[in-house]
Symmetry: C2
Subunit: 284 residues, 2 copies
């Protein structure tokens, strides 16, 4: 049995749990929006927990941040303007700014405290925050997208918490309609879409909502993410325009370093497990 030196997150439904051994509790606070904790772990570096859910660790965040950014940016033909809704730890922003084509990247997280804590406890994720192309806003991302002018953005990355609490509205058809309205003609959303092992119906509902909102060209990508329920995560790209193959030549010749992502891994992430293919076909 685990003693009090472990942080544990239980996954309801699956009735599984993932735990990390804690060296020190570094910080805890109730922000205006959520309960934030920072731990120093024995094996995963620092750990940020939001409302009891593990969000990001030093050791394994590269999977998620790379797969939420480079997949979309190498799929869009020429991404210049990128918004990140959520993403307060700034890790996705850092990856986005590795692309020279990007002229402007705006991170819109409702909770400034997440970023302030990331600056202290995950400084490596924040190393591009002062890039002249970066802008950090601490406002409601749902309202930001709703109020945006048409044709404002090429890629919207929805890097949110689970679809309960503050992030719930980010999984709604209305939100995707608002995205549709402010995206450029080749524009696309990429959104974290939970675990295909644990949350298959949710992925189906999300894809349906995206599709009904006009973002009807879909790709769900799969990748490991130790820290998240089942250790196997997904992201879904929803595009206004038909999705051509991703820019393989550019991805293979990328001029920046990654830990997990490369052109082969991008292609691999697109492979649909047999049960996933069958479940999605049944909905169609």
């Amino acid at each position: 049995m685990l003693d009090a030196h472990w942080f544990t997150e239980i996954v309801p439904g699956a009735e599984s749990a993932f735990s990390l051994k804690i060296k020190n509790k570094l910080h805890a606070e109730q922000s205006e929006f959520q309960y934030l904790e920072i731990y120093e772990t024995e094996g995963f570096g620092n750990l940020m927990v939001i409302d009891g859910c593990t969000m990001v660790s030093t050791r394994d965040n590269f999977f998620y941040h790379e797969m939420m950014s480079h997949t979309a940016l190498f799929t869009h033909p020429a991404p210049k303007k990128v918004w990140i809704i959520g993403g307060g730890d700034c890790g996705t922003l850092r990856e986005v700014l590795k692309h020279d084509s990007v002229e402007q990247a705006i991170q819109i997280d409702i909770d400034e405290r997440v970023t302030r804590l990331a600056e202290i406890y995950f400084p490596e994720l924040c190393e591009s925050n002062n890039d002249p192309r970066a802008e950090l806003k601490f406002i409601d991302g749902i309202k930001w997208v709703k109020d945006a002018a048409p044709n404002s953005v090429d890629i919207i990355i929805v890097d949110s918490t689970d679809p309960v609490g503050p992030a719930e509205g980010l999984f709604s058809e209305q939100f995707y309609r608002d995205c549709y309205n402010c995206l450029t003609p080749n524009g696309m959303v990429i959104q974290q879409s939970e675990s295909a092992l644990f949350h298959l119906p949710l992925i189906g509902e999300m894809r349906d909502a995206m599709s009904h909102a006009g973002l009807s060209h879909l790709q769900t990508l799969f990748f490991p993410q130790c820290l998240y329920p089942s250790g196997w995560w997904s992201a879904t790209i929803a595009s206004k325009a038909e999705l051509a193959e991703f820019r393989k030549v550019d991805a293979a010749a990328k001029t920046f370093a990654t830990v997990y992502y490369n052109a082969d891994i991008h292609q691999a992430a697109l492979a649909q497990p047999e049960f996933f293919k069958q479940a999605m076909a049944k909905r169609a």
Copy 2:
């Protein structure tokens, strides 16, 4: 904190843990070789635990069993004779026998009790045990391979526990030499090779040992496996002959059902993460 109603496996080094909520403890015994436990879980069906390590659950075993079998069987040009070293739960045997080309599949697990418990608690994994092509032996797999005649087998699947205790010898250069000696000219080993996130040096050492033993054509494949440390597992194919592309046409036209595996997933599993590629290149 998790109470006594949870079964937990701690991963040393990573200092992470995975837990499943238990409905009932169905069985426990000390066999001649190891301590075996069977639980009924809340979310994963039945669970077999060997020496404190989660081995197989009803809910998610399909990833591992399919990826340990179909990848090798669709890589070999015409597999007729297959041995499974370990694999006492019979799930790999079931998958192997889905291939019509297979004339003989011998499962060699040192511990008969694992199979007897699988017959009771995982009957679906044992449904091909009476196939006339199947043979179950309860003897030492290391000795079996050592004593085998040259040219006896096309594929050896090493479906073992971790490289400590009874399975340690299955990760040694001497074992791979013995495999080399009894494999046919196109023969190959496929062996579970732990987590690239947690056990990267071990994968490197294993690949080196395989290579030194003459099984010098290597492929490491990656796939999700919720139940195992980090939720992300690997298998390594080590072949006597140069590895051509796998039989994609046959895999795409497979006549049997799978839950995870298909031709795209096979291709995807071959993609090497950037950090893995770099770490293996450094050893070369």
